[in-house]
Symmetry: none
């Protein structure tokens, strides 16, 4: 686990630059054909050559055997123990759609659902209504007014939406409030229940909003009711720049990852488009302004989630061609190539497997294995290590940490 | 370290099955002849083939350099940090003979000893009297009555017995009481001394019992006195089934291991006999009733303790033939082959060396090394890992843990 007191105490100002290249869901599982994983099957001459000059290992995002969500997995890469620092589901959902969440906002994930005449839940996802329908219903819900509170309702996808409450009159909202979703059928939704005294007023506001919303929805079968989950505020995480002494920037196309980067205090850089080439352009443009770049590649994960081994390998090959040489041309002092978690095509989902990781710097001890893959990393000199160690290692390898003790 | 809050929060109900095959004292040291350990020297075609499809590593039972006793070593395999969860020696000894210990009982290990006319200890083990003699003396000690307390005295082996005090009138016994054994000759046994205020009344009862017992024994040379050690109560461990969401069963021939399994809440299964084949029969009979099986093999450890390299290798070969294929025929979803600690024949005792461990599941990333041995495990992709991680890993690999966070 990264120790922020230590990195704060030891940090030095240097001109060195760090890049953490994150291929989302990078880790995979062997295919039957030849026993190779997506990463092993991909033709990656640039990553393989870099591996030959680097150290390899397997990063554990949360804990052995535990499959991480994207939020905890990225916190871990940034050095924040995800078991200690928790981003509420509502906040993640708001970040995921690029909502400009403020520190005093309370965010909740909303699910449209179906209820019968007695108000008992018959479908927790309202028959997975199309996103178009979701948008129309959300537009209706925007008419609900709460005293002293600005409300935002935003469609996400199918039956999912986001509700944000923002105080306008100097009051403080509190979000220790339980989900209304009873997680089963044949029972009514629960009221929003405060978990502490301070949250009671906010819970009352939330229940007022819910009552008004259900009144609006009552004739909109199958989405004739709703539930709120993961009611939460910005957790107020320690700031990345502060704990590591870095001017830090994020390059990511998806709102979710831009949001988590923003939550830890990185500058989120503008992009001309959503391709890898656009991301590389942004890296070049801002190279002189920052010490650290989080460079996120989304499509490895999407392909893994779709169970598409070939497409995932293809994205890795594209990164090898379009990103890796471009980063090396900029001459960073330390480069970490990793993933936030594994998304094996064989599982079509995130998984618990540790993540193949490569660390290069002018001061690394090369393992001398010119191959970047799960098996090579399984024999690598970084061993099986906590993903939260990547940042302290990168700081060390870029000469940014003072000696501890005399 | 396993995090029970995490495994409780993430556990899922599944039909999958886990087997943890524990060869007691599995780890060894190289012999001079060819530099091979017991496991490496054994002909194990089934384990080697399985290793080729599995991941290997070295499990650390307690802490680097620390030699574990059987109790802590097994707690660790079950995912209980043995530095946090402590089972007193008296409790272990009572469990070791299959005594049905109750939560309010206080148990102590007893050693008959020899004292001279001045009451100074001349032999801490009473000349290792035969077990038959031990049984006769124990029968005499059962006549001792304590007010409000039911007492049980049970023979163990040679000079060893167990004393259990059970409150009958609603009072509570406390067991922060030091050993009476001074651990050297030429001095008298110590009184039982309470370590806190709450334990003083129990210590007084224990001393009353000891005085009566010594009076009974005084003419029974060489067992003319006794000492009590490891005075303790059931530590009230979290329950295995609860923390992991598993119906768990133990298959073990020795009372000690059956006892530890019972203490963590496993069902201890009946056996028709004490052979490996009997254990396999029990596994087959109960296969459908449980999600997890702890399958314990004792004789690897006994052979190691005897310094018998060949016999230990022979037991491993027997497991390879009689147990491994039988388990694989039952088609578990995750199989861990490991040991609780090392017992190198070269040392004739438990040792601190990490334990060769193999993890197989349909979702593992095979290391591709078709050899199960200390050296192969030292290069394996599980790395050097805490034995407490075995259960979370097995849960992940049997798809029994939900995703952590969104």
């Amino acid at each position: 686990m990264a120790n922020f007191e230590l990195t704060k105490a030891l940090q030095m100002t240097r001109e060195t630059k760090i890049v953490q290249l994150v291929l989302d869901g990078l880790g995979g599982l062997p295919r039957e054909l030849d026993g190779k994983t997506e990463l092993e099957a991909a033709r990656t001459p640039n990553l393989d050559a870099l591996a030959g000059r680097a150290q390899l290992g397997l990063a554990v995002p949360v804990a052995p055997g535990v499959t991480p969500g994207s939020g905890p997995a990225h916190l871990s890469l940034f050095g924040y123990d995800p078991l200690q620092y928790d981003i509420g589901r509502g906040v993640l959902e708001a970040l995921g759609i690029g909502f400009d969440l403020q520190p005093e906002d309370v965010a909740a994930r909303g699910n449209f659902c179906s209820v019968d005449q007695e108000g008992l839940i018959t479908d927790r996802r309202a028959g997975r209504i199309p996103t178009e329908v979701c948008r129309k219903l959300v537009a209706l819900l925007r008419d609900i007014k709460l005293p002293g509170i600005e409300t935002f309702v935003e469609a996400v996808k199918e039956y999912r939406f986001v509700l944000v409450l923002r105080p306008t009159e100097g009051q403080t909202l509190h979000a220790h409030i339980l989900d209304t979703d009873p997680q089963r059928l044949g029972v009514p939704p629960l009221p929003a229940r405060a978990q502490d005294k301070a949250s009671e007023a906010t819970a009352a506001l939330v229940n007022d909003w819910i009552a008004a919303a259900r009144d609006i929805l009552k004739d909109h079968q199958p989405a004739n009711s709703l539930n709120l989950r993961g009611i939460a505020k910005d957790p107020g995480l320690p700031k990345f720049g502060n704990v590591y002494g870095l001017r830090a920037a994020a390059i990511a196309t998806y709102p979710m990852y831009r949001g988590v980067a923003k939550l830890v205090g990185m500058d989120v850089l503008p992009l001309a488009g959503e391709t890898l080439e656009d991301e590389v352009d942004t890296l070049r443009i801002h190279w002189d302004q920052y010490d650290y770049f989080f460079f996120h590649v989304k499509k490895t994960d999407s392909a893994g989630e779709d169970g598409d081994f070939e497409r995932k390998a293809g994205v890795i090959e594209h990164v090898d061609q379009a990103v890796v040489p471009a980063i090396l041309d900029l001459a960073p002092d330390a480069l970490v190539v990793t993933g936030d978690h594994s998304t094996p095509a064989a599982l079509k989902s995130h998984s618990w497997h540790p993540v193949p990781t490569l660390l290069w710097s002018n001061y690394c001890r090369p393992d001398g294995v010119a191959e970047f893959g799960e098996r090579a990393c399984g024999r690598g000199s970084l061993g099986v290590f906590a993903a939260t160690d990547e940042m302290p290692l990168a700081l060390g390898h870029s000469l940014r940490l003072n000696k501890y003790g005399a």
